[in-house]
Amino acid sequence: MRPFKFTPVTDAASAIALLAKNEHARFIGGGTNLLDLMKEDVERPNELIDISRLGITKVSTILTGNHSGGVSIGAVGKNADTANHPLIRQKYPLLAQAILAGASAQIRNMATNGGNLLQRTRCPYFYDVAMPCNKRQPGSGCGALEGINRMHAIFGWSEHCVAVYPSDMSVALAALGATVKVRGTAGQERSIAFTDFHRLPGNTPERDTNLAHGEMVTAIELPPDNFAGNSYYLKVRDRASYAFALVSVAAALELSGSRIVNARIALGGVAHKPWRAFAAERLLAGKEATEANFLLAAAEEMKSAKPLGHNLFKVELGKRAIVRSLQMAMNK
């Protein structure tokens, strides 16, 4: 680990000002991902600004604005506290399920909500500084493209990067249509739709998100339509806990009788960002909630999949996971 300065802060404005001043500084919340990356010499910040004491941890009902009736989640709240909060459990069980499907109990107790959104890929070529990786070292090449890519993307990848984004929580947030509240250097706030928060790799895989240096995630806002009655998070992985998804699906349905008014489907483990299955969603809107339609929708989404050398199975697994998660969403 390279030497670094540790700067605790107690207010957001000075945290943002400090970060803006130093392009090699990073915020640290729970540190569950950043410290690992520093030990491996992947992240090399010269200053850590500790925002874990900012107090922006609350889970609360939004009373005004276009998300009125929804719920706001503080960026520095812990993953475990968020998943177990009564408002989340009752109104957004999909989110609680997704958070609890991720990592281990110990990590969830440390990890923050904002940090969860900003965690970096677990691609082994990214983690090993002896390997080429455009995300870690732009221009060095993608080790995984022609390498061991069983865990890698089938959607939205580029020749520069085939990594997948690892968060479970974000898959549910994408399905639920959350927005990310961000504060900038001049104190101005902006909201970013969840689907616009993370990026596809293109030719700048070093950038995971559309957050600018100097901006801080302060909260995640969930809209009032919560799909609480018909949602399910299905995670398929190599072991029953503490493993990243081969494929995961956050499925949520708004039903009128047996007819689907609105379907939300997001996939994890398949792309550089939580992958909203818009093609499947469009196909299901207005249709009967039947297994046959679920199969058609899953097949439609997978038409655009481009598997790599070792992950062809994700196409079939993705189809099955979409169908199964929609069925589970119905069985509630």
Binding site: M1, R2, P3, K39, E40, D41, R122, P124, Y125, Y127, D128, A130, M131, G143, E146, G147, I148, R150, L234, V236, R237, D238, R239, A240, S241, Y242, A243, F244, L246, F313, E316, L317, R320, A321, V323, R324
Partner: protein, 708 residues
């Protein structure tokens, strides 16, 4: 004084349990050593070639750095001193990716780790041989004469003329041991004498190898290793890190601590090699085996050889007139493989016992019935009688306890909601041996308070050696267990065998038992009296008013040991639930039934069997170390990528020990359980998956994608 109640065979709590859960048991790097410096290794980023230059100038400038040691300035060592895997910084040659090429010694661990990142290395690369799948057809017979072809009868003809046969290829991946405690050492020099605090499964072996490598007499090296945080074979033979710690301490003239990181564990301390096993089994229509051919192809290091004996179980499990066991190896630029729990037997039994299940299915015969039908009366490999063998009882009692009669023999027919349910069975074995070990018993008495200290250079991997030796001594001396002090894990103590190859309990406990007998006999003679009822040593210390007395034995196995074939045997039963949509497998129930002679402590024994079972489930379902053949590096470098089973992966675990009398292999009748717990486990799980789904998976691990 009342004679204590017999403790051997009782489920006594670990005598070191409180020490461990309160953090008071000192593992290697827990020893408080003053003025210590820290060493961090750095490693090659190519798999074959040589170093052309190393620039350490940036690293040396880091505050706190005391020395950067590479092949350019390392002291001369004896590379043939008995350490495994080379990598001793004696030259520029690179034989595998991740070979140690140097180390930084600094005031703090963080400084050393940071400086190690700043070393710049240039290489001349040569063609690395790492792609086993591509090179397997160039495999040659091994140099090890113990691994030469073993033929009995005419297997080819029997297979050709078989009424029913199975001929299939089974593959197992590279696995790593990954003990919870990574390999760690503290080295302290006093003149030309060095003390090495180091987890060592074979204390005297570590001493001999370290001394020879350092060009010292064995007496100039002391190994201290009372507690070990697991080893599974990787701390049996010792590796470069042990001696490099001593080298670093010598260079900086201070005590040095060196602990491998989890990432470094992948290419520092050996591995279980990848095996391609070709099985051919022939049988008559009524299920009598006529031929068994077990041909293994694997990889060894580029300049040294180790291969696990995958064909061993096939030598002893079944009565078959025609048999062929062969090995072929390819030298690769991958770290030297080494002993890994149930070496050869765990992976070999996966192939053999899967093939037996396939044969039973083809014969339309219950797989237990097929096994019962082919039990050998004597060891088929050498004609020796069994010292004891309980395979039949293991199968029968296991079937009863597991509810085998509920199994539907037709695959894919048992459906529970989202799941396909299946039952599987598989057997295993592991040789039982007592090895020479010495032990001292020291008795002291203050009035009626008699205490004993037991000393021998044994080792405790965490399996309960301290406890079983205390039980043995308590019974042997007639003392309560809390009057027994066990001193092991120190090469200054009488030499002993190691905790390897399932020999630990038999070797150590028999030595302690012999020492207790000897001291009792000597005390009787010393008393000059004749007794109608034999007194205990403790009673004699009191009655004869002796303040202190000691005895030493150099215990050896009895002559009868050589006249019999001795193995522990088991039968494993698995119930799996396979998710029909996702292919995820849950082992809902697992039962291991083991015949291993005298079980000294059923509580610690059960834990050890379950530990082996869990790793076997990992072998079946999750564990695999993957190499990128372009560079020869492991891409599964952490527990996020190398999947050992987590709590949620393991269901109900049951253990039964057969009440087995073992009279010939050693005095106490102990056959050992360290290895056999993993043997036959993967096959039981995979056979259950076949019963659940109708899918036969022959390459491990069975990840969800293989069941779609």
């Amino acid at each position: 004084m009342q004679q204590a109640k017999k403790l051997t065979g009782m489920p006594v709590d670990r005598i070191d349990g409180i020490l461990k859960v309160t953090g008071k048991a000192s593992y290697a790097t827990d020893y408080p050593v003053k003025n210590i410096a820290y060493a961090v290794l750095f490693k090659s980023t190519i798999a074959a070639g040589s170093i052309t230059s190393i620039d350490t100038s940036e690293a040396e400038k880091v505050p706190g750095v005391l020395s950067v040691i590479t092949h350019l300035n390392a002291p001369k060592l004896n590379v043939k001193g008995g350490l495994r895997g080379g990598a001793l910084l004696q030259g520029p040659e690179i034989e595998f990716h991740g070979q140690h090429i140097g180390m930084v010694v600094a005031e703090t661990f963080e400084q050393a780790r940071y400086a190690a990142r700043l070393v710049k290395v240039s290489y001349r690369q040569t063609d690395a041989k790492v792609d086993f799948a591509k090179l397997a057809d160039r495999a040659v017979p091994p140099k090890d004469r113990g691994m030469a072809d073993v033929k009995r009868g005419d297997t080819a003809a029997a297979l050709r003329n078989a009424e029913v046969k199975v001929e299939e290829i089974y593959q197992t991946p590279i696995e790593h041991h990954h003990p919870l405690e990574p390999h760690s050492t503290i080295a302290v020099w006093e003149g030309d004498h060095v003390t090495l605090y180091n987890g060592s499964q074979i204390v005297n072996g570590a001493q001999t190898a370290a001394a020879a490598t350092l060009n010292l007499k064995p007496g100039n090296v002391r190994i201290v290793s009372p507690y070990i945080g697991g080893g599974f074979g990787s701390k049996g033979g010792q590796w470069a890190n042990l001696v490099l710690t001593a080298v670093a301490a010598k260079v900086v003239s201070r005590p040095v601590k060196l602990a491998l990181s989890r990432q470094q564990m992948f290419n520092s301390v050996g591995l279980r090699q990848r095996n391609i096993q070709k099985l051919g089994i022939a049988a008559t229509k009524d299920g009598k085996l006529t031929a068994l051919a077990h041909e293994t192809t694997t990889h060894v290091a580029i300049n040294s050889e180790f291969l696990e004996p995958c064909g061993d179980c096939s030598k002893v499990m079944y009565d078959v007139p025609n048999s062929l066991i062969t090995y072929r190896v390819v030298p690769l630029n991958i770290i030297l493989p080494t002993y890994t729990r149930g070496p050869g037997k765990s992976t070999g039994s996966f192939a053999l016992e899967s093939a037996m299940d396939e044969l039973a299915f083809k014969l339309n015969m219950d797989p237990i019935e097929l096994r019962l039908k082919n039990q050998p009366a004597v060891d088929p490999s050498d004609g020796k009688p069994w010292s004891s063998r309980s395979t039949i009882q293991c199968l029968k009692e296991g079937a009863r306890a597991f509810g085998w009669e509920k199994r539907n023999p037709v695959p894919g027919k048992t459906i529970q909601g989202d799941y396909l349910v299946g039952y599987g069975v598989a057997c295993g074995s592991y040789p039982a041996r007592q090895r020479e070990s010495s032990a001292i018993v020291r008795l002291t008495a203050k009035g009626p308070d008699v205490r004993a200290t037991i000393e021998l250079a044994a080792s405790d991997l965490g399996t309960g050696t301290h406890t079983i030796l205390a039980q043995t001594a308590a019974d042997g001396l007639g003392l309560p267990i809390d009057k027994i002090h066990i001193r092991i894990g120190d090469s200054d103590l009488p030499p002993a065998a190691g905790s390897v190859g399932s020999v630990g309990a038999a070797s150590f406990a028999n030595a302690v038992n012999d020492a207790c007998r000897k001291i009792t006999d000597e005390l009787v003679v010393k008393s000059g009296k004749q007794f109608f009822v034999a007194p205990t040593a403790a009673q004699l210390m009191i009655s004869e008013r002796i303040n202190s007395y000691e005895a030493r034995v150099d215990a050896k196995p009895p002559v009868s040991a050589n006249q019999y074939s001795s193995h522990s045997f088991n039968a494993n039963f698995a119930e799996v639930w396979v998710n029909r949509s996702t292919g995820m497998v849950k082992v809902a129930r697992f039962l291991a039934v083991t015949g291993a002679g005298k079980i000294l402590n059923p509580k610690t024994a059960r834990s050890q069997i379950i530990g082996g079972n869990v790793w076997g489930i990992g072998m079946a379902l999750t564990e695999e170390s993957v190499i990128d053949t372009r560079w020869g590096n492991f891409i599964t470098r952490s527990f996020a990528d190398y999947h050992v089973p987590a709590n949620l992966d393991i269901g109900s675990m049951e253990t039964i020990f057969i009440n087995e009398e073992e009279k010939f292999s050693n005095t106490l009748g102990v056959k050992g359980i360290g290895e056999v717990g993993i043997v036959g486990v993967a096959a039981a799980v995979v056979n259950a998956i076949f019963n659940a789904t109708g899918k036969r998976v022959r390459d491990l691990p069975v990840t969800p994608d293989k069941l779609l």
